[in-house]
Amino acid sequence: MLAAREDLVNKVLKIAGRKNVKLYGMINETLELVIRADEMGLSLEEVVDQYGIMKAARDAGFVPVVESLMYDIVEKVLQRNKRWVTKKWYEAGQWYGKYYSVRLPQDPVKAFRDDICSFTWNVSEFSIMENEDKAEVMVRCVSPRFPLSYTTLFSVFLEGALNTFGYDCVNRGVSKGIIRLRFRKAEAE
């Protein structure tokens, strides 16, 4: 026998009833999954959080692609039509800027930062930092795996999003695997 909070057990009991399963079976299934998560080196909370992140990626129209294929195709397209593909990535950034502006109008930069930081699992360092009065935003990204072509396009994507949030890029440093961008709040016209 294991003691648990009555209010929680009652809620689980209600769900078990709805699913037409026994409380015993439902609790045991849950505990087995906790152990499975632990074997993967994670807590159930982390697994549930990660699930939420990937669900957010799916809802926002992102898909996982084999990294080498992505870099390969980006390289090819960039060689052929740099202007066109750069424009496309910029527009994609703008689209996501709008998306996050609608999703969290009171702080779209935060919503964008939280998601992008979670989605860029192949990046060693990634930060989007606003200063105190939110007049400036610093973007920093380091990924030794990024080829120059992908780094360039990813920086343009970020710029598209930040522009939509009302920031202009005032300083740009992009080299293979490293992005440093500084944005300043655009003057109201």
Partner: protein
């Protein structure tokens, strides 16, 4: 709830082996079994209240970890479609070859990662979980024949063909050859047999 006021408790039946393993984890985490159990139930309720099951969540997580470990990058689907659309007309053969090779690599990776599990099933789970741009994914194995069906009304022809090459590459590494291949924009129907 004010401090010092304890919540009501309820006893639940748990098999001894599970209990022992949970005690080990809670000890390691420096938590009492009671508070650990409360955390677990809170998380479970969070999932069930969003109309999912914990099984789904943990399976999804495991598959995504496989994706991460195999080197996947999260990309806006529109950007990917634009890129493929740009290269495909003049570089179709090279693209198909690259996708096939990438599939072969992935198949080898599945053999290793799921060495004590059914790798064909693992491929089905991977496609179903990670290719969320597909509306339907079915991978069925029946007496040494594997049927793969993918449907997505919005998948352009070039993306569909590349998906076909990728799956064929994976199946090649898993020891299957193409028996029947049929695809059109947004629909993939493939049959493989053991080599």
């Amino acid at each position: 709830m004010p401090k010092g006021v304890s919540r009501a408790k309820k006893l639940t039946l748990v098999p001894t082996d599970l209990l022992e393993r949970l005690m080990r984890i809670s000890n390691r985490e420096g938590k009492t079994l009671y508070s650990f159990m409360s955390e677990i139930l809170e998380q479970a309720l969070r999932v069930y209240e969003s109309r999912h099951t914990l099984q789904e969540v943990v399976n999804f997580f495991e598959i995504m970890e496989t994706q991460k470990a195999s080197g996947a990058v999260i990309t806006p689907v529109d950007v990917l479609t634009y890129l493929i659309g740009e290269v495909y007309p003049s570089g179709k053969e090279v693209l198909c070859e690259r996708w096939y090779e990438s599939g072969q690599w992935y198949g080898k990776y599945l053999l290793d990662r799921f060495h004590n599990q059914n790798q064909v099933e693992a491929l089905g789970n991977l496609l179903a979980v990670t290719r969320w741009d597909l509306n339907e994914v079915l991978v069925e194995e029946e007496s040494e024949v594997v049927k793969v069906r993918c449907v997505s009304p919005l998948l352009p022809l070039q993306n569909t063909e590349l998906l076909v090459r990728f799956v064929e590459g994976v199946m090649d590494s898993l020891g299957y050859k193409v028996k029947n291949e049929d695809f059109m924009r947004g629909i993939v129907l493939l049959e493989f047999e053991k080599t």
